[in-house]
Symmetry: C2
Subunit: 305 residues, 2 copies
């Protein structure tokens, strides 16, 4: 049997948002801008640059305005920001952000802890924000957090995830994202959920589907592979494998861009990314952050061939 996988995959680099948002060491704005330049020169074509959130709660993101005003706008590179509220949306629009991420959690407990809203309330707010963004000409990635399980609640019913997707898609986002926020997804669940999602009748066509995978329990690349078999070809990844779950010493974060690109290239799937340059960029950023990254490939050589 011939295995069908996409010939090409797009990586959205999230190190500057999910990757470092919980790091205590504050990265200077200029170092962030430099890193974005280097990532672009490695061939990365999508970068989540920041979030517009409460600077007291997430000090690492406090320079969002400065960052966006200092940024080079590269041709053919999508720069985006995460927003959680109307206030964040207004700030992003003022900064001329062309693309925003808007997420709802599929878990009541996580939703209350993360946004002090029930899932229903968060969904209403998200739908409003999506419409608002679209009316301002801002492109939108809408997503569901904890789509494959919740650290607080355990199982999250796939029905609930699919219903949230259906509702979000009704507002006409440009892309849909399923996030394995708690790193509890498994390859079978990922395949099942995506396969079911494709069969759901929506108001509009299902927009491009992307996955945001955490490597918490070391399942990140297994879940990536399972999603490839379902035809998914947009994945978030974080340089060095930073982010994800900052509370446990040595815990793995997001899937590492280097490790993901390495396995994709070995499978003959193009990413447009120069892996050797990316490894160099990772090693340099590791020095700036001053702590060892969970990614393996930078210390082992890139890949088989």
């Amino acid at each position: 049997m011939k295995i069908k996988l996409p010939g090409q995959v797009e990586i959205q680099e999230v190190v500057l948002r999910d990757g470092i948002q919980n790091e205590k060491k504050i990265i200077p704005t200029q170092a962030k801008i430099d890193l974005i330049g280097k990532l672009v020169s490695c061939g990365v074509r999508r970068i989540e640059v920041s979030s517009f959130v409460n600077p007291r709660l997430v000090p690492q993101m406090a320079d969002a305005e400065d960052l966006w005003s200092g940024l080079v706008r590269y041709k053919d590179v999508i720069l985006s920001a995460l927003i959680l509220s109307r206030g964040g949306m207004e700030r992003a629009v003022k900064c001329g952000v062309g693309r925003v991420g808007i997420f709802v959690s599929a878990s009541e407990t996580h939703s209350m802890r993360n946004s002090r809203r029930t899932v229903g309330e968060a969904l209403s707010e998200a739908l409003m924000l999506i419409s608002e963004a679209k009316s301002q000409g801002v492109s939108v990635r809408a997503g569901v957090m904890n789509a494959f399980g919740c650290a607080y609640e355990g199982v999250v019913p796939a029905d609930k995830v699919i219903e949230l997707c259906r509702r979000l898609c009704g507002a006409g986002p440009d892309e849909l994202c399923l996030a394995d926020t708690s790193g509890l997804g498994d390859p079978r669940l990922i395949r099942d959920t995506i396969s079911r999602l494709r069969k759901v009748r929506m108001k509009t066509a299902l927009p491009g589907l992307s996955l945001h995978l955490h490597n918490t329990r070391d399942r990140g690349l297994a879940n990536l592979y399972a999603a490839l078999e379902e035809g998914v070809c947009i994945f978030d990844a974080s340089l060095g494998g930073l982010g994800g779950c900052p509370f446990i010493e040595g815990a793995r974060g997001n899937i590492a861009t280097e490790d993901a690109v390495s396995v994709l290239h070995d499978m003959g799937i193009a990413t447009g990314i120069d892996l050797e340059r990316l490894v160099q960029t990772s090693l340099e950023f590791e020095k700036i952050l001053g702590k060892p990254f969970p990614a393996m490939v930078p210390h082992l050589g890139p890949c088989r061939s």
Copy 2:
């Protein structure tokens, strides 16, 4: 499309062989015997207990004779040892070992460095050892190392791997094992190789197929999942994720038994292993070895449900 995966998987625990063979801290024989007892009480039904190799080269394995003479022989539990030579075979038979592992490398460079033999010479020796074992009533797992790539040579042609399997199977082993010794396999290659292997005409029927996966580049569980899709249902794993590649600080070793069992259970695949007890056993052994294990699940809680 319904995803077909095996309903049940057998785990061969290799922490006492591949897991600790390169650890400097020598584990006392009694601690090894105690660990075997605990693993059995967790439900593990296959354990690679030691190798019969040169004690000067691998001091951790120097107690093989003492270990086998002190071991409880549990009903329904397969205890095995790895052997590399006729001398090792004789020692194993004297100890009453009921099952041995006999491996050949698919890479010339690795074969020369590991055994000072060409692949052809190593194959002849292996065929002789398999016959010898069978004639003594010892059960055999025959295997190919570096079946999915080589740290020295890069790509290892699948044709070469398949031809080695065909030759090994001609000697009538009870099980065949493909080992990703360099941790360079990828899910597509694993599926392709297994799928091709199934189509090869052999003298005898293809015996049970098992996989020995390293997590060097974080691909271990992705490769395990890909093999499940090909119907493989016997996997080596090492408690704590020990072993594999001891030369890099923080490098990942074999796939971690805890992490593998956790994802298998979340996918509804039975292993017969009590994960909570296994985690307890891992945390205790981590204290004995005195270094943090790469496995994630022991520090995060077992799984989704």
